[in-house]
Symmetry: C2
Subunit: 609 residues, 2 copies
Amino acid sequence: MKSPIIDFLKQLHHELSGLSEGEVATYIPELAKANPEWFGICVVTASGHVYEVGDTDIPFTIQSISKPFVYGLALEDNGLNDVIAKVGVEPSGDAFNSISLEPDTGRPLNPMINAGAIATAGLIQGGIASARKRRILSGFSTFAGRELSIDETVYQSESETGHRNRAIGHMLRNFDILTSDPDPTVELYFQQCSISVTCRDLGVMAATLANRGANPITGKQAVRGEYVANMLSVMSSCGMYDWAGEWIYKVGMPAKSGVAGGVIAVLPGQLGIGVFSPRLDSHGNSVRGIRVCEALSQRLDLHLFNRRGTRDGAVRLIFNGGKVSSRRVRSLEEVALLKEHGSRIVVVQLQGNLTFATTETAVHAVTEEFETLDYLVVDFGHVLSINDTAARLLFELTLSLEAEGKTVVFSHPDRVPLMGRVFRAKLGEKATDVYRTFEDNDPALEYCEDLLLVKKGFTPPVEHTFGLAEFELLDGFSKVELEIFSGSLVEMTYGKGEAIIRAGDEASELFMLSKGRVSVFVGSDASTRRRLATFSPGMIFGEMSLIDRSPRSATIEADSAVQCRILTLASFDQLGDKHPAIKIKLLENLSRGLSRKLRKANLELSVFE
Amino acid sequence: MKSPIIDFLKQLHHELSGLSEGEVATYIPELAKANPEWFGICVVTASGHVYEVGDTDIPFTIQSISKPFVYGLALEDNGLNDVIAKVGVEPSGDAFNSISLEPDTGRPLNPMINAGAIATAGLIQGGIASARKRRILSGFSTFAGRELSIDETVYQSESETGHRNRAIGHMLRNFDILTSDPDPTVELYFQQCSISVTCRDLGVMAATLANRGANPITGKQAVRGEYVANMLSVMSSCGMYDWAGEWIYKVGMPAKSGVAGGVIAVLPGQLGIGVFSPRLDSHGNSVRGIRVCEALSQRLDLHLFNRRGTRDGAVRLIFNGGKVSSRRVRSLEEVALLKEHGSRIVVVQLQGNLTFATTETAVHAVTEEFETLDYLVVDFGHVLSINDTAARLLFELTLSLEAEGKTVVFSHPDRVPLMGRVFRAKLGEKATDVYRTFEDNDPALEYCEDLLLVKKGFTPPVEHTFGLAEFELLDGFSKVELEIFSGSLVEMTYGKGEAIIRAGDEASELFMLSKGRVSVFVGSDASTRRRLATFSPGMIFGEMSLIDRSPRSATIEADSAVQCRILTLASFDQLGDKHPAIKIKLLENLSRGLSRKLRKANLELSVFE
């Protein structure tokens, strides 16, 4: 099928390929050899989908686009303060090759001008030159998701003609911005500029920045996430040299260009753009590259600042325990209590990336519901990530609720390991007193229901073997009828963990649970296994297959030592011949049970649909 | 309940209230009167939640914070090109009161320096001075969500001492940037700076910018959404004067300060911040204001560029017609066909704000499923907004699917009126040939099911009055039994639209539908009314209340002229006495029907849960 996104990019490529303004860089012969008509566009989403048209596989040198990436590696190698001490972050308002050092300290104004980039290269750790080169190549390769290498011919030419940069190196040495022989660092700078990439590589590298430093295709972290904002900040304020204001105004994405004709632009959290077209304007930026970024920003509405507010933030759904209950099948008395008081249990289902702004909506919703809730289940099942702020916000919310005597329960805590770390860091061993975790909503709800039921005066029946008269299935049976019916039953016992029914088996009996508990499961392995129901004494199970004669659809296991009375299919069928009145009562009671389950399922569907 | 967000702000307020660096502005006596200890912080989310601590109700003058807002109004009054012709967008690298005009054109470098702000004020339309003043006051009032006014004393002082700004006015007149007498415009500029606001107002105004120009509390549009990115762009590149690089690096939010001690910062799509503290640093920025922004950015992780990718974008859920079906209750033959082929119907549920990046995930998911789908339902029910790009992307996707012979259906089109406009703009009258819309998923699914069934060879039965033998309820009945049973039934007819059962009524009968169609509805009015089921001839309805003797839970209406056979509760109860074998068969068939409905409901729950 035609992708509408590819179609759009093809159209744009076609439109702009007529543009023949600008000149290919000629300051070294290798760059002058570029075909001025080469033109590639590649858009890569932060989820790793790649859209590319035109010449996206032709290798060229990365040149100045290396600067923000080496800056990121330098931050990782030295930490923020040591980098800031050597290189500033203010735009220079000058061209790329201006020296722009602070008059007193000699600190280059920012890492995007050559002086700042050479100072930054000086911060790359590794000791000997070859190790520092490997550090850069390996970092860039993780960004691109493939092994990159240096174009040695370009590097030799850059090195042979790079007198101005060598002068800058010595100037930086003079100010102790570089603290040892500047030559190896200047060579390293020539090497970083000579790394060979394709337009597709640029797209992926940009998308890795959009994805907070994690390559969205390989999943590998190319630079520590905390430094990505710094890299994008210097691109934003200084990336397009003396044109930063107009760029942010018109395009609204941090960007960087290189003299070989490459351009990257990044929309944080969303996508990265790589463009390649060797003809440059007087600022040294690719003419078509700039136009592609402008057109993409405008036509795809990518401007960073053109954002609508999301009213619902991280809240996917809020529901209460009066409408949705756990898979524990409750007695009639319990059902009545939960129907009356179940709304005191509130489940807040969160989704997406939890940050301050998205989590605030959830915290606000809970504080709004504060008066009407006693039990809060926070469901992290649809959460993609959580940052420290969101975790602390939920921690504080939990403490506040706890202080008011409310119960807080987390479901799917495996999606947000940071939550546990924040609680343990703040409370140590006492963390587990403050909240409980359950692997999903079902046991979380069951836990809250159990607490609520006790609070509302429910006393669980003393554990005993249920007599026939206690079964709802036999409601309205006379003593004589009970005795007759009892003759059709077979007693069975099962050990804890034993399978009573297996999915796929032919159905040949209905089970009356006299003692112990059983649970119904679907899913063949641990990851897909899901509880459908848990039954207590006095309840029946396995009746549906008996009624519609279809194979067992789920597996039923004994949660504890279990006693059952079993009505076989044969006895069930014969019952009508000898004791029609008994069979009628039995069927009426069976239908009533099914009807109740169907009403419950429909109510839950109305919540989730 | 204590809000953890208020607690956090109180803590921050407490920490920073010890900070006594800086000096209150003294260039006019009114500003010098400010209590240097005043300190307020207000955070307002793009969804309109207000969090405020400290002195958030004390009035002060907005001063330079007026500049981006007047710039927005000027854009609205003149359009982008006419504004750009008079005022640039490049940072000056100079202090706020630098004149910074382009040497040849006299165009001020940007609208955040005084020269640019006066040129911008000159662009406010309205003719006479009072009308232009009203235009600004009314625009600002919509931003703040309350009637604002000018502090006349401050204005008088500003006017009396504003010689430098008057000089700038004449300089702008000299270059024809101002095209008439500059004095009224300079006065207008003094007036805009003298508008009286509170810290809370600043928070709301900032949140209005975060919400693309719509005040999140009143819902009113304060400036056309398309200009908000321009306003934020100039704040980002020039808002903090000669400090833009460091500000974006450390704080990462567009911001603006005023000499009365106010600061605003905006996180687009998420929140706005207002701070008030009169002590200023040497740049003229509020000392505590700056520190609050830094601390909020760092501790709440608000930096614009520190974003994680969202893997699932706009896709809330994808499911297929093999697991979830419409509320039309199908015959056994239809059920079997839908079970086998239903996965050819794919429902993509979208959510949130549809932009290029979020919608791309949905388009990608559909192209991935392309081979296995014949019918696509796009459900806009959870969508908050759609931009032009997203609408065009979905338009192109629809055309591509249509070209491949697939059927595309939209549900909840009322949430995305732009979709219809894009289709009509591109296709005119033919738009409705390309896609169908339905108010929700249920009729959309039914439409697709009907097409699929026909494609798979299903022939709907010829319309006729169903005989008893055709009812599944009477499966296995002999001729004699049918005749006997028929004696218990009463014939009834209903006109189209007539209510057959009303929610809340006592249940006294089971209905066998011989002819026509009926539908089950819950919800008392049009907005809450929802179809639960539609039944065709040969089916029964109303059986659940008969079984569990509970009142009717829904209303059932005749979709067409309807004929029913009715089994009353009395006949049902008596049937067992006289004809137990018939009653047993009836109950077995009833239970089978309930069992099937329960299995279907459980399957659907497993999809949505």
